[in-house]
């Protein structure tokens, strides 16, 4: 997976923070600062699509799950989406048998539900998340494609994410920016597995 460095912090999120402080139109200097921040240079995303960026490094399993679910065409489309992709280690924590089962066709529906719960709309960088957390008094929330919500917080420099079913993970920091969205590897699944009977 091609890794891209975090681009200039600042722009939209500094603006968010500014908005939170001023709560109004702000002074001319503030607006100029915001405008300057808005023009901050951002690392150009890869021309690869989200579907292309899975595989390699530690996102092989997520790539397989996406394909099994039949959602690789969606992640190859116009988007944009931001995927919080569990790493291979995160899947392996479920057990090898379960991971193998998830790659079978009879798990298409389950896989689709899992993938939906890990995607949010739009193009979001790690800097966007960090700045939103700062502007949001320590947390920021995003709606997922499964109708749930992901809540982001920071612990030092680490960004943590929790789903509304109580699942928690951390962003590993190796974001990948593509032509139709972003991928952020996460350390655990953001859906809770109930005990099988």
């Amino acid at each position: 997976m091609k890794k891209l460095s975090i681009f200039a912090l600042g722009m939209p999120l500094a603006a968010l923070a500014l908005a939170g402080c001023s709560g109004g139109k702000g002074t001319a200097n503030e607006q100029a600062a915001v405008a300057d921040a808005g023009n901050a240079t951002m690392v150009t995303p890869s021309d690869k699509t989200l579907a292309d960026m899975f595989g390699g490094d530690d996102l092989d399993t997520m790539g397989d799950v996406v394909k099994t679910a039949g959602l690789d065409t969606v992640l190859d489309g116009v988007g944009p989406y931001t995927v919080f992709a569990p790493t291979d280690d995160a899947f392996n924590a479920l057990g090898t048998d379960r991971v193998d089962a998830m790659k079978q066709d009879d798990m298409k529906a389950q896989d689709a539900a899992l993938v939906q719960a890990h995607i949010v709309p739009g193009f979001i960088t790690a800097a966007d998340i960090a700045n939103a957390i700062d502007a949001g008094n320590g947390s920021a929330r995003m709606t997922t494609m499964s109708g749930g919500t992901l809540t982001f917080t920071k612990s030092g420099d680490t960004i943590q994410v929790a789903s509304d079913d109580g699942s928690q993970a951390t962003l590993t920091g190796d974001e990948a920016l593509g032509s139709n969205g972003a991928i952020h590897p996460v350390s655990a699944l953001l859906v809770k597995s109930t005990a099988a009977s």
Partner: protein, 415 residues
């Protein structure tokens, strides 16, 4: 008296807010005249068609007041009749059908930068705003047609193909409002007609991927609001499971049962089997209802379930996410956009995952959009400031007032 009327008309033209806003560069135009001039200049390359359309609308509006009663009645009937009721021949001959963009561009001006709307535009984006809805194109067209000559003097205007000319009185404020209202109704009807005609997609020119600011909620394509609807009874082709089998299904919990968590309600148990999620009454251990799910019954290669309600997706979503080279009908169910072969009824494409969140201009932004998420290609244009936030969802970028959290405008990414 005439001077009073002219002054009133001029003020009305300046105050008239466009239905769709036009952003040009950074900075908020504070002066209505400056804004109008800027808009006219920036939109020149797109105004050939709009002016023709504005001409037609203005002539129609004038006809209402000048034609014989019979003509007036006929004209009004034609305008009030929804276009989907017109004959196919009329549609083919309609300039709107031949070139939909020509129809929309007078209202849908191209957004050119991160400009804040003027006070009239802001007022228009808020609920309850009843300001006159007149486009800049329209006012510019007034001048072009010579209704008002240099120095604000009434000019001459030709009517029809003959040489007859007559002096036209300057329209008063009421007439301007009526004209603007008629134009709004016409465009709204057209938009509604388009949204209800997904099968006509192949006949439309491929839309451009460029932003258009919309400040009137009537012009924002709305996804069907019926969500997560379970169907009472048993799935077609499956029949009702025997009671013993239901008990087995209820008892056999799978680790992934909770992954459809948006369906979870405490009064029921949810189990997946053979393409469907079943809602089971725990007390009686009987199936209450079912829903086909993505990747299950709603997977590529499967026929659309025969008794599962079909929600046609508005054209905007089909155009934004769909494969323009494929003759699919696009259907929306449970936050997923499907491309379906209209002949075989088979699912051919999973086109998009959507949130289905409710974004309505003038209403509060929905929860769960706390992070700036505008697509990369639009980040240099729409970025958060102390005056405006921007959030992307389901093919639109929305502008939000940071203080009130009200949605001020929707920026559609197709024109």
């Amino acid at each position: 008296m005439r001077n009073v009327l002219l002054t009133t008309s001029a003020l009305a033209a300046l105050l008239a807010a466009p239905v769709l806003a036009q952003d040009h560069g950074h900075g908020a135009p504070q002066d209505g005249r400056k804004q109008a001039a800027s808009s006219k200049e920036a939109g020149r390359s797109h105004q050939t068609a709009p002016r023709q359309k504005a001409d037609r609308h203005q002539q129609a509006a004038q006809s209402i007041t000048q034609r014989q009663p019979a003509q007036h009645q006929e004209s009004s009937k034609r305008r009030e009749q929804p276009e989907h009721q017109a004959s196919s021949q009329q549609r083919q001959q309609s300039p709107h059908q031949a070139a939909p963009q020509q129809h929309e561009q007078p209202q849908a001006a191209q957004d050119r930068g991160h400009a804040r709307p003027g006070p009239q535009q802001q007022a228009q984006g808020r609920p309850g705003s009843q300001s006159p809805q007149s486009s800049r194109d329209h006012s510019g067209n007034d001048r072009q047609q010579g209704q008002t000559g240099p120095g604000g003097q009434p000019g001459r205007q030709e009517h029809g193909h003959g040489s007859r000319t007559e002096r036209q009185p300057a329209p008063n404020l009421t007439q301007l409002r009526q004209r603007a209202q008629q134009e709004r109704q016409h465009v709204a009807e057209r938009a509604l007609w388009r949204s209800s005609q997904p099968q006509a997609r192949k006949d439309r020119p491929k839309p451009d991927r460029r932003p258009v600011v919309v400040t009137d909620r009537a012009y924002v394509a709305q996804l069907p609001r019926q969500q997560h609807h379970f169907v009472d009874g048993c799935p077609p082709g499956h029949g009702c499971l025997p009671p013993g089998q239901v008990k087995q299904l209820y008892a056999a919990r799978h680790p992934s049962d909770g992954w459809w968590r948006w369906r979870q309600q405490q009064d029921a148990a949810y189990r997946y089997d053979s393409g469907y999620v079943y809602r089971i009454n725990p007390a009686t251990q009987t199936i209450v209802s079912y829903v086909p799910v993505l990747g299950g019954a709603l997977a590529v290669g499967n026929a659309w379930p025969s008794n599962y309600a079909v929600e046609q997706a508005p054209d905007y979503y089909a155009d934004y996410y769909g494969d323009y080279n494929k003759p699919y009908a696009y259907r929306y169910a449970d936050n997923v956009l499907y491309g379906v072969d209209p002949q075989s009824n088979q699912i051919e494409q999973i086109a998009a995952l959507l949130t289905g969140s409710d974004w309505s201009i003038g209403q509060a932004m929905p929860d769960g959009y706390g992070i700036y998420n505008v697509p990369y290609d639009y980040r240099d244009r729409y970025y958060d400031t102390s005056d405006a936030w921007y959030r992307y969802d389901d093919g639109y970028v929305y502008r939000i007032d940071p203080k009130t959290r009200l949605i001020e405008a929707a920026i559609q990414l197709l024109a």
